[in-house]
Symmetry: C2
Subunit: 182 residues, 2 copies
Amino acid sequence: MLKKSEAKIIEAGFTVFSANPTATLADVAKEAGVGRATLHRHYAGREDLMAALAMVAMQELDDAIEAATKDAPSYTEALRLSLEVIIPLADRQMFLANEPLDHVPEVLEAYTQQLDETAEAVEAAKEEGGFDADVPTAWIVQAIETLTYAAWTVVRDGDATPEEAAVLAWRTLQSGLTGGAK
Amino acid sequence: MLKKSEAKIIEAGFTVFSANPTATLADVAKEAGVGRATLHRHYAGREDLMAALAMVAMQELDDAIEAATKDAPSYTEALRLSLEVIIPLADRQMFLANEPLDHVPEVLEAYTQQLDETAEAVEAAKEEGGFDADVPTAWIVQAIETLTYAAWTVVRDGDATPEEAAVLAWRTLQSGLTGGAK
DNA sequence: TCAACATGAGACATAGATGTCTCATTTTTT
DNA sequence: AAAAAATGAGACATCTATGTCTCATGTTGA
């Protein structure tokens, strides 16, 4: 469990870095309403803070997916529900994508595991007929990830509601953008 | 037309920043085999260099698309061909996506125009039946962009050849990943 | 060949972010 | 209330990227 000031710092980190990935630690501390020294007391440096943000973001993702899919009737439906639930969380993830966090083993492991879980879900969905067996799993995983980003983008730009974006992303993935949704 | 050392710097910029978006100007100069002072003689600072890289990258994109589509039998086919041609160029674009270049009017204008052209092509393809009319153009444009990125990623990771990736991306866009390619 | 120009190398100054430390004050716990 | 812990504010040192300038050397073109 996070202490109060740690929670404030983490939340400020999401806010500030989402708006500007090159923001200063001083910016984060200010947004958190906390002294700069206090930030350093809890997180040794920028990299530590980023790693902590990544861990929190991934945990949130895990929890959201777990909650959304625990009663899903199929693996395919579970993937659809996951997609739906992830979109609003995307702005807490995207700014981390360009951080060089590969050096932090903890983060790398958690990230790898998330990808593996997605890949497993995709393989299971394939067996249900949710995706064609001849489409590489690596592609489907990648497509899910990038279409989630696309959905988040159109929502951010005001071109669609989260619900509409989720429908569009899933339709694109499953049946494409021609010939009508199935 | 670029002078010889300017061309070397630009090319080094693509190489270095693709590998590490936070690389220093000294890194770029070294890769270019050029003195740091010379780099500053041609490009006032990091932002100028980035802007120049962006302009070159967009011009390359324009040229490649123009060449690939000039004999296309339809707007839909032109979009498919564009997608195919863009994938290998993606590593010259992607590192620019996270640069705050909005402040450079020249770049912003060129980028906006590219998006507009894509949107127009999509609308035309819609009228041909290449995409369903009820799918928002903004979504299709965004999907094209992100699936291009996905394709580039799987190629980079060795999970597909550029040709395979292009096929997968186009299939995803048009007919989805279930029910077989049409 | 000679003149104009471009370059490389290095010195120099600067600005900004980072990390450390101290000390008085506040907050929490006991 | 007393002790322990956490915090805020600010000073301080440092490090790195950046940008400027100079001068000797090399290159190009007339």
